[in-house]
Symmetry: C2
Subunit: 341 residues, 2 copies
DNA sequence: CTGTTAGCGCTTTCAA
DNA sequence: TTGAAAGCGCTAACAG
């Protein structure tokens, strides 16, 4: 048993490897009787061209690497779907890697993708300082950052308006009459974590509501932290009447905590979340959220990358900012409590 | 600008490429002063070994392909997490591909992975007949099927007890007093679709409940179909008092439909779903489900694959069947309706 | 311990 | 239209 090679095909078809290569790559200029014969032999041998060997001489792989921090956060698979779809259209193959929010794993993954000579990289980094990208930059491999920026390098970036969305969310709460508004924010060394907090702060400022430290809690964008922080808020002397959670998973954790400790949503406390989630429609009252166009995010990211990969010309840094949209349901206005029924 | 190669390193360090190779691959037997120098040069040049060239001579890539049908179904990312974790431990790199349930894309992806010379393949196929796997089998590349079987080839398989889980679910409904139990089943040409239906049927048989055609609807495991089928059930003259939905997404669709058409869960109709989902804890009453050990599924799959990749000896077909667990919440017993309060 | 050398499978001049 | 031949960057005998 041995994988058939181009040479096996050439021998059996009684032509040179060069001719077989021409056929495989549809370059034309081969007499059609010969082409016919070669195609038959390929079929017969079940020959599959070796992309490893090809990449070696061509020095391109038609492959892009995609690095995401959390495959179990439904946000990312949606973005990835958008990337994949566009990539497929252009004949690129996508290698998806998951860092699980670990900068170490991310570094390792980058190294591996570089070893495999990917033609481009789309990344939502676990470490925005970006030094792990040095080798990628050095090799002039096109990179696009999605959802989180890269601080120390000139990298094309696709984001949604985090500040904008957070501002809208907070303002919405304010306009419903809330004054005691807490935030469960994300890590402040991440773009989304920081910008969403800024949006929250600005809204408070604009409406002359003081920002209280005890209403600012910080999670890590995972469910558990939303759960814990909600409990902390509940244990406050002076509880907030509304909470803004800075991502989907923390919103979920918050909801679970509310149920657990009996802090009644829509009666004792309002909630608005950044990012939509399935659960939103099933809680009572339904949850108002800031929702983002995930697929478009992915599509835009690939399109940008594609330009860089093809027109080697452009080396200006570009920023795409897509707009979030607030989905108003009912969780932001407090009903009279049940005891009044 | 040109990527440094092993030769650049060798020249600058004044040694042969063979020696550099020894250092890179930690094979030992190199004088440590030389090794030191080489390491420094590697650092200086920011040299990264070219995995493409290496694979070419070694004929292994330390890479496995993972093909899943729907990256947006939370079930799969969880399985993938299990696979990745085990793979990382053993020094394998995972290439994740998404077919979006399309057999055509699957075939293409298999071809590409083969071209890239992956050392092994873990797949949840979109076409259980499995002819698309012929080239993989021909090349003696180890394959493990997860969650869905491959019909026409001897392939190691990791599944959960679909029949078992469905039987338990249906019996649970029966023991709550239900007699009119509908199923929204999956496609019958898929293992999970078929087996879960058999579990349902057996439970009815064992308890002498006739199986009615009008209570057997078929979806495609996507949300939309659960939604539509639920509406169909509701429009029946003689509505069922309980529904068993055969996967998470169809359960979600069913729940949305119930809300939409005002068919009251827990009062007018009971529901049990195959696979847990976030929403389960947030509907009222909370949803009883059959839950599966996703991470373990992935771990077991890689472990099996790893054995095949290393001990080339074994060529017996193995089946792992993990056990599902029923998570009893409250959605299966009907409360008196609100009007009686 | 170290260097020389022969490929791995393919593409791509170049010459015919 | 075709074939011969020179690599792509690396590893693995083999010889020293």
């Amino acid at each position: 048993m041995h994988k058939p090679t181009i040479e096996d095909v050439a021998k059996l078809a009684k032509v040179s490897t060069a001719t077989v290569s021409r056929v495989i790559n549809k370059q034309g200029g081969v007499k059609s009787s010969k082409e016919q014969r070669i195609l038959e032999v390929i079929e017969e041998l079940a020959y599959i061209p070796n992309a490893v060997a090809r990449s070696m001489v061509r020095k391109i792989t038609n492959t892009i690497g995609v690095i995401i921090p959390d495959i179990n956060n439904p946000f990312f698979p949606l973005v990835v779907s958008g990337i994949e779809q566009q990539a497929r259209k252009k004949g690129y193959f996508t290698i998806l890697c998951n860092t699980n929010e670990s900068p170490e794993i991310e570094e390792e993954l980058i190294q591996i993708l570089l070893e495999r000579s990917v033609d481009g990289l789309i990344i939502t980094t676990a470490n925005e300082y970006g030094h792990q990208l040095q080798p990628v930059i050095d090799r002039r491999i096109p990179v696009v950052a999605v959802d989180r920026q890269i601080r120390n390098y000139e990298v094309d970036t696709v984001l949604v308006g985090n500040m904008d969305g957070a501002y809208q969310a907070t303002r919405h709460l304010i306009l419903q009459g809330h004054k005691k508004i807490a935030i469960i924010r994300g890590p402040q060394n991440t773009t989304p974590g920081y910008e969403r907090f800024v949006g929250y702060r600005r809204a408070l400022e604009d409406y002359n509501i003081p920002l209280l430290d005890e209403y600012v809690l910080e999670g890590d964008f995972k469910e558990e932290s939303g759960y814990l922080d909600t409990q902390k808020l509940h244990s406050l002397q002076d509880r907030p009447t509304a909470i803004f959670t800075a991502n989907n998973l923390m919103t979920l954790g918050c909801l679970k905590a509310l149920t657990k400790i009996g802090w009644v949503l829509g009666e004792e406390v309002s909630l608005i979340g950044f990012d939509d989630l399935d659960v939103a429609e099933f809680v009572n009252p339904q949850l108002t959220v800031v929702s983002r166009p995930m697929r478009q995010l992915g599509e835009a990211a690939f399109d940008l990358l594609y330009e860089k990969m093809t027109h080697q010309g452009e080396w200006t840094k570009r920023h795409y900012v897509l707009s979030p949209k607030i989905k108003i349901r009912q969780s932001c206005v407090l009903r009279p409590s049940k005891t009044m029924e």
